[in-house]
Structures are given as C-alpha cells and as structure tokens.
Homo-oligomer: 322 residues x 2
Amino acid sequence: MATRACIKPIFILLCKIPIMDALVIALGGNALLQNGEKPSFPVQLKNARRTAKSIARRLAKEKAFVITHGNGPQVGYELLRNIYAGRKLPQMPLRIINAETQAIIGSILQSAIASELEKIGSKKRICTVLTHVVVDRKDKAFENPTKPIGPLYSKKELQKQLKIEKFDYVMTGLLYRRVVASPRPLKIIEIGQIKELVEDGFGVICCGGGGIPIFDDWNGANAVIDKDRTTQHLANSIKASRMAILTNVDCVYKDYLGRRVPIKKIEASSIGESLGDFDEGTMRPKLEACTDFIMNGGKRAYIGSLFSLDSALAGTSGTLIM
Amino acid sequence: MATRACIKPIFILLCKIPIMDALVIALGGNALLQNGEKPSFPVQLKNARRTAKSIARRLAKEKAFVITHGNGPQVGYELLRNIYAGRKLPQMPLRIINAETQAIIGSILQSAIASELEKIGSKKRICTVLTHVVVDRKDKAFENPTKPIGPLYSKKELQKQLKIEKFDYVMTGLLYRRVVASPRPLKIIEIGQIKELVEDGFGVICCGGGGIPIFDDWNGANAVIDKDRTTQHLANSIKASRMAILTNVDCVYKDYLGRRVPIKKIEASSIGESLGDFDEGTMRPKLEACTDFIMNGGKRAYIGSLFSLDSALAGTSGTLIM
C-alpha cells in the first residue's frame, strides 16, 4: 500500500486538475421490466442487456458517470413474494424490500453494462453501492401518503393483509391499493463514497428506487422516495455537470393526451409557472428534478428515451433543460 | 470538483505515506441470526446491534477496515420465500438470492455499525458494496456439489420442487437437501473500488456470503462460495496486514468433540499437516483461509468469538495464526 500511496497523488494531480464533467443517468423502471412482462431473471437480464447496448458506447466515452434506477415493478413483486410467503415467514419492512431491489436490479444492470463495456473494449469499471437516504420525520408527505405500491387487493384480501401489517390504502375502481409517503430526500448517506469512486474514474450504480428510506437515527421510514428527486440530490451533491432522466417517452410533450406538442428545449427558469400543465404522476416530478438540478448549479439536464442517450446528449432527440 | 481535485492529492500525500494497516473482519452468519431464531427484521437488527456494540470501539481506532459476512441462514430463508411464492412468481436463481442477502445483511449491519460509531463519537463512515466473485467453470467442485443449502424436503416435497427447477440433492436422515458446488474464488470484480475506498479511509462491507458467484462472462454460477475463502482472497488482494474470522466459537480447539484443547497461537507453516484434525465443515476452511492469508503476505490472522474482537487482537482470547 505504501508504494501505491506515493504514486497515487501524482497520478491524481495529473488527471484531476481539469474540471470533471460527470454525467448522472436515471434509468426508468422499464429498463428491466416492461409493463405486463413476466418478472423472471432471464426477462430482466434480456431487457437490461438491451438498455446496456444502447448506453455503453456513450458511457465508455464519459470520464465520470453515475447510474440510478427506478424499482417500481420490482418492489411490487418483492412485496407480493413477501405476502405469498407471509404465513410461513416474517414479512420484511419496506426499507429491506428497497434494499433487495437495489441488489437485484444493481447486479443485473451491472452485469449487463460491464459485460457490454468489455465487449466494446472499454476499460471502465463499474460497481453497485447500496444507498441509504435520510428523510425528515416531519415531512408533510407522512401526513398524507399518496404513493401507490404493491398489488391490488379485493376487499377480502385487503382485510386479511391488514391483519398481518397495518398500512394506508386507497380505493382504485373496485379494488384497493397500499399507499405510502413519498418524502423529499434530505441526505444521501453514501454520498462521500460515491463521489470518491466517481472522481477516481469508476462508474457507480446507486440510489436504486430512490434509496433505502431512513430517518437520521437509522430507523427505517415507511416510505418510497422518488428516484428522480434522489437523482437530482445526488447530481448536485457531487457537482455533476449533466443529468439525464431516461424513460419510456421520447421527450417531454405539452398537452400529452391531446395535441402532443414535443418540447425540444426549455429554460429551467421558465418551467416553474407551467409545471401544472404536466402529469403529476409521471412527467412533473422529472421536470421538477431537472429544474432543481439546473437551479442548484447543474449545466444541462435531459429527459429522453431509454434508447437514445447519445442523441439526447447531442441535442437531436429528447428534451433539453438549460 | 476542480478545487477538491487540487486539495485532495496534498491531503493524500500527508495522510498516506505511512503504511496503511488494514484489518479485514469476517463475521459469521450468526452475527445476525442465531440457530432457531425467527428470521424477522427486528430480530436480525437486534443481533446486529449486539455485534456492532462489541466491534465498533475497535473499528473506530482502525485506520482502515473491511467487513465481510456469511449468509447461511438468510440464503435458506430467501430460498424458502421463493419456494412458497413459487407457483405465482418466478423463482430467482442463486446469484440473485445471494445479491438479495448481501443487501439485507449489508443494510442491517451498516445501520447497526454506523449508528454505534456515531454514538461513540467516531467520524468513520462505512458503506456496502455489492460484490461479484468470478469462479472457474472447470472447478472440480462443480463435478461433485457438496454444500447443503435451503430447506429439508420430504420425498414428496423434493419431487414437487424438482419439477420447478433441477438441482442436486443429498439424503440426510429420512429427508433431502439441495447441494450446490462451492468453487474457489478466482477474482473479486469490485476489488479496485473496495481498495480505493479503504485507502480513502472508508470502512467497507462487502463479499457477503462469499460474493455473487459468476463466471468470467458474467453468467451466474449455480454455486455458493465459502465466505472465509473470499475474505482471504480480498485481504491478500488489498494487502491487508490483519484478518480476523469471528464466529460462535471462542477459539480453535484441537480434538473439539473430545478433550477440547484450546490453541492460543499457531504457526501458519505448521497447520498444513494437522488440517485433517479439524472439522471439515466448520473450522478447517477457516484455518485454511488463515494459513493462505499468512502464506500470501498477511501478517497476523485471528479466529475468535464474535464478541471479543478487541481481546483477540490483543492476544488475550481467540487463536492467533502467524
């Protein structure tokens, strides 16, 4: 270690004086599972490989990058697995379910991307860091949980499940669904380590599903943190220059359900007033995250399709937020 | 990042010239679950806190440390959860089950240790890195799988389960149990990142359950890697000076089931010939790992109780291998 320690600072001096231009990418849950697909390992690996193929060439060119990802479908299935086995094995709390999905998706994504990077001759190395994110007990989201997770229940199933664990729920049509709070991320516990790895040239997969929700005393929070919010927090904390939110829509549209006017470019400062025009469940949090990223020092944010990272960064697809 | 990049090398120059004295600790599966305990989250957290209390003061004094851990009980329960939900949800392969246990145990351990470190005023920060370990397709272990995992099956249950997935099994008494190969670890994929973090002063939890078993093409291996073997590989790869294997036995005994002669100190070079005296399933792999660690440049290895790290390192408990 001694020799290494002497050589390292000189190496870092040579490599690190130029401003690092880091790219943070948020992958939608559909990177691994499309709607209605069977949540098996082969299916998720196949999808991950497709995603990897489309982003690896770009990642190979980047000096520094971080990948975050959603976990919506996987959280649902892990909750289901817990419920099905619930009579025989104790059910795990949401913080552990999130941790499990970070490992499942992290390992599958890492395998697919690392293997694709190797194939194209890149020496980039990536790893997956389990991420805990602190939220505030007094966050107003806890007063009015609105984030739906897990399966739909009939009234009978709901009553049965409520005997095992108490939770909030809403009615959707004739069925019921669990809802949890979606508080704002305050602090990413592993931010120092992630920054260190990124500065040392490693690609990092982290903040999966918005991160494991905890309070500042390390107790778990019964919550799901929005992954785009956490991604923005991360991107600003490591002072990344660019952030790209990749999803199953090719760009941001005005009047999405009506005339569908694609937005190619938009000033962050002008988004605030028109946020109400966008769908609360899908596009609005992404636009908010991009706006906050720019307002807090980020240079450029992109919203685009999972399969067009390169052209989004080049400005020929997607939506650019400046 | 630019400013940080300029300050960092100077900081590293000042801090890193002394030889780093890293400690690698392997925690037995019983750190989180004792035999027969209910595998719930509160029980595992309670046990982790007890373990954390006993090791945190020592870790706070260490310049650099890595923690690895077993996952025997947790793999068993995750397999069971998969089996119980098996008719309704696709079962996950062993590589994913291992990844899940790294996240479950990693998050619980990290919470307990980080919170204990904070309590005693330490500024040490730790994180959990998902670890993939490459094994050889031609490893002889694959010809003759011997590592028992998961639940005991009756003949009927076994036949039912074999229809869902093919696996090797052995008969134990009147029941059956799945066995998988336990090949040698060849390469820890994330070794560069782990070394970097450790050199930067972060504590790292990694290599859980011996690591996610993969082949060199990133395909998963139907295997479980011995965690002590992986720990030794890791310890030598990062050139750690010390390795401690903590378990539910207070030291190594000769004639464990008979006269029980405790061994306080032993030369690594003299272990080879007497390895046959130790139990193949429990103590032998630990002694082998310690011997190999010393033979490959490690300075001191310890085998001792989960609750006496301090005294083991001080030489007043446990077994020292030099």
